[in-house]
């Protein structure tokens, strides 16, 4: 008999007999209805408590703000998506301004440029599928256009979040977006920059992933 069948058979023919499943009441996860402003305040407070940075901006002002942020960090290169409106907006913006870093488009399989991705990219910018106020989390579903490593390998990760897409809790976000009906190959909650406390519980940032997480909130 295969190991699979052995294991399943042992589980099915339990000597203690059949088990009864208890009811699960999820109402303890419910939160009062918060306004967008309240959710944003909460999100900002929580993500900043873990070293994330929040910049409130607008549909028209985010590129200016991004340019400032990247200049203060002397970023030379910024990784963008090919199709997404964020990437497109940046590409057209660079045509008539000098203050943005060199744009790199993630449009080739990683194998063909892995070394460059790991060593030459200073920052990456991605969209989000919303945020979670209670835990200060960003929801990312990497895709063909915005691959998984965009938010992981560059030392600075910039995420664009629409304030109107903030949820109060993870539970609420998952229910509202119907995650149970199907998940992408990879989905992420990102709540701050990469960190470790493995050396005597002393916090250090950027251990494997980005050292900085900057959220541009479009209000």
């Amino acid at each position: 008999m295969s190991s699979r069948d052995t294991i399943l058979q042992r589980l099915r023919h339990r000597t203690g007999g059949e088990l009864t499943a208890p009811e699960c009441d999820f109402s303890v996860l419910n939160r009062p209805e918060w306004s967008t402003a309240e959710k944003l305040d909460m999100f900002e407070q929580t993500i900043e408590s873990v070293h994330g940075e929040v910049h409130r901006t607008t549909e028209d002002g985010w590129i200016d703000r991004l340019a400032e942020i990247l200049q203060t960090r002397s970023a030379q290169t910024l990784l963008i998506a090919k199709q997404h409106e964020i990437g497109k907006a940046l590409q057209s913006a660079t045509k008539n301004r000098e203050d943005l870093p060199q744009l790199l488009v993630y449009d080739e399989p990683v194998e063909s440029w892995q070394n460059a991705l790991f060593s030459d990219v200073d920052a990456g910018i991605t969209s989000t599928r919303g945020g979670i106020a209670e835990t200060g989390s960003l929801i990312l579903w990497p895709s063909v256009d915005e691959p998984r490593l965009m938010s992981l390998v560059p030392p600075i990760h910039i995420a664009v979040l629409k304030a109107s897409e903030l949820y109060t809790t993870f539970h609420q976000a998952m229910q509202s977006q119907n995650w149970g009906t199907g998940m992408p190959t990879n989905a992420l909650l990102i709540s701050g920059p990469s960190k470790t406390a493995d050396i005597e519980q002393t916090l250090a940032y950027g251990v494997h992933g980005p050292k900085e997480l900057i959220v541009l909130v479009i209000e």
């Binding site: 295969s2 005597e200 250090a204 494997h208």
Partner: protein, 479 residues
């Protein structure tokens, strides 16, 4: 279960708990390192649950786990089906050895020479690194704590913070000796160097091996909880990802994960959430530019289906591996994780490891507790750890009529002398006349009582019999 004493981590004899505990108690460095860390973790956990109805949340956590366990075989089949539909290959392993062989076969088929690992306690159970090295495959840990422990050729001393037994100075010296970094107490410098060293390894690894925190049956999703990003690297950069997980980690719905995640990170490190919550539901699809081309899941039994048979012991399988029980354990805090000599230390280790190594090997584990109850009070899924410790103590001396012994190696601690004494004790206590005579005699001849009674008086003074029996005193009172 095929694990034997010879296969326990680094060939440590689990039975030798006492000498190791004694040595740890006399090591001020170890005691200081653990005390400091555990105090911090207890405080952080407490403040992270502020504003929560924690008891209700723990009830929900317990019910979610119990519901999953009640439907375990069906859920595993559903999980297998969903994972397969998603393009993930599912393997089943009866024990650690078989799981190791499965990983090896995948590596061999891919001609893999190097494996990079994310943190996985199941892989520690399997002793996978050791096995792969023997097969000529390099296995490198990438979680900073695990990396440190591996460089030191040790095992983790805590399931969440593997290198918690070391202080900065010790780690600095170790990294200097093994990797050539400068001696420095600057944690940022040490971390930055580890980043550089490991980034090379991520890029060159042929296979990434990770654990799983929750496996969701409805969508075929593997959930990984981490702060560093090494888990994401491990599961994204190499062309092949192998996830190893205990069969009990499956839950029916994504909704279940929201509550368990809220409990897990707060109980473990006092975080509202970890930096990354990584949900993997398939390999790289056509058109995608990164991610592994192959994803495998190894469902490891290794004794879990045996634990599953018994209504009481079953509760052991609720565990979500947060480590809160060890953070709050007065014994763990004093002796540290290595004294146990087991993959899982602390209270969860004391109720889980006897099943994995047998009660003959693990006979001292259930008794390494004062039964203070702290572990049970903080457990996010309400595992009655103290009750299970008592149950295993009974099993170690061969159970009783209500609980016929079931755990492998039961009766290992049974002494016929002790059994006889207790039999006599119960015989006497069932006969009031005899009992009174006994206590009367005890009171009269109390001066003859020995001052030293074995292990009891090693650290305590001997209890003294009272001059008058309780019956006598009650009689005086009523006069």
């Amino acid at each position: 279960m095929s694990e034997t004493a010879e296969q326990s981590p680094h060939h440590i004899d689990v039975k030798e708990f006492h000498p190791r505990a004694r040595a740890a108690l006399h090591n001020p460095q170890i005691r200081q390192n653990f005390r400091k860390a555990m105090d911090g973790l207890m405080t952080k956990r407490k403040s992270s649950f502020e504003g929560w109805d924690l008891e209700t949340l723990r009830d929900l956590g317990a019910n979610i786990r119990l519901r999953a366990l009640a439907n375990l075989p069906d859920l595993l089949e559903q999980l297998e089906q969903k994972l397969t539909e998603n393009g993930i290959t599912v393997h089943w392993a009866n024990d650690g050895d078989e799981a190791c062989e499965i990983v090896r076969d995948i590596c061999v088929a891919r001609k893999a020479k190097s494996v990079i690992k994310g943190k996985s306690m199941v892989s520690e159970e399997m002793e996978l690194n050791h096995y792969l090295e023997e097969q000529g495959i390099e296995a490198l840990e990438s979680d900073l704590g695990e990396y440190i422990v591996q460089l030191a050729e040790e095992t983790p001393s805590h399931i969440i913070m593997p290198a918690i037994h070391k202080n900065t100075e010790e780690i600095s010296q170790l990294l200097h000796d093994k990797t050539g970094t400068d001696l420095s107490h600057d944690v940022e410098y040490l971390t930055a160097n580890a980043r550089l060293q490991l980034r090379e390894k991520f890029m060159n690894a042929d296979v990434g091996v990770s654990g799983v925190n929750f496996a969701v049956a409805e969508t075929g999703t593997l959930c990984l909880v981490e702060n560093e990003g090494n888990g994401r690297m491990t599961t994204t950069v190499p062309p092949c990802h192998i996830a190893v997980t205990g069969i009990e980690k499956v839950v029916p719905n994504l909704e279940d994960v929201t509550a368990l995640l809220a409990l897990l990170t707060r109980s473990a490190t006092g975080q509202h959430i970890t930096t990354y919550f990584n949900m993997i539901s398939g390999p790289r699809q056509l058109g995608e530019l990164d991610g592994p081309e192959e994803v495998h899941v190894v469902l490891v039994d290794n004794g879990r289906s045996t634990i599953y048979q018994d209504d009481e012991l079953l509760d052991t399988l609720r565990c979500i591996r947060c480590g809160a029980c060890m953070n709050h354990c007065p014994v763990y805090t004093r002796v540290g994780g290595h004294a146990y000599g087991t993959t899982y230390p602390g209270p969860i280790g004391k109720i889980l490891m006897p099943h994995m190594v047998g009660l003959d090997e693990g006979r001292h584990l259930p008794t390494a507790s004062s039964l203070c109850g702290a572990c049970g009070e903080v457990c996010p899924v309400k595992i009655p750890i103290p009750d299970l410790l008592v149950r295993l103590r009974q099993e170690a001396v061969d159970g009783d009529k209500l609980h016929p012994a079931k755990v492998r190696g039961h009766g290992a601690k049974r002494s016929s002398m002790e059994a006889m004494i207790w039999k006599g004790w119960s015989w006497m206590h069932a006969r009031p006349g005899l009992y009174r005579m006994g206590t009367n005699l005890g009171a009269r001849f109390r001066k003859l009582q020995p001052g030293k009674i074995g292990g009891w008086t090693q650290y305590r003074t001997a209890p003294k019999l009272a001059a008058k029996t309780l019956h006598e005193r009650m009689k005086e009172r009523s006069q």
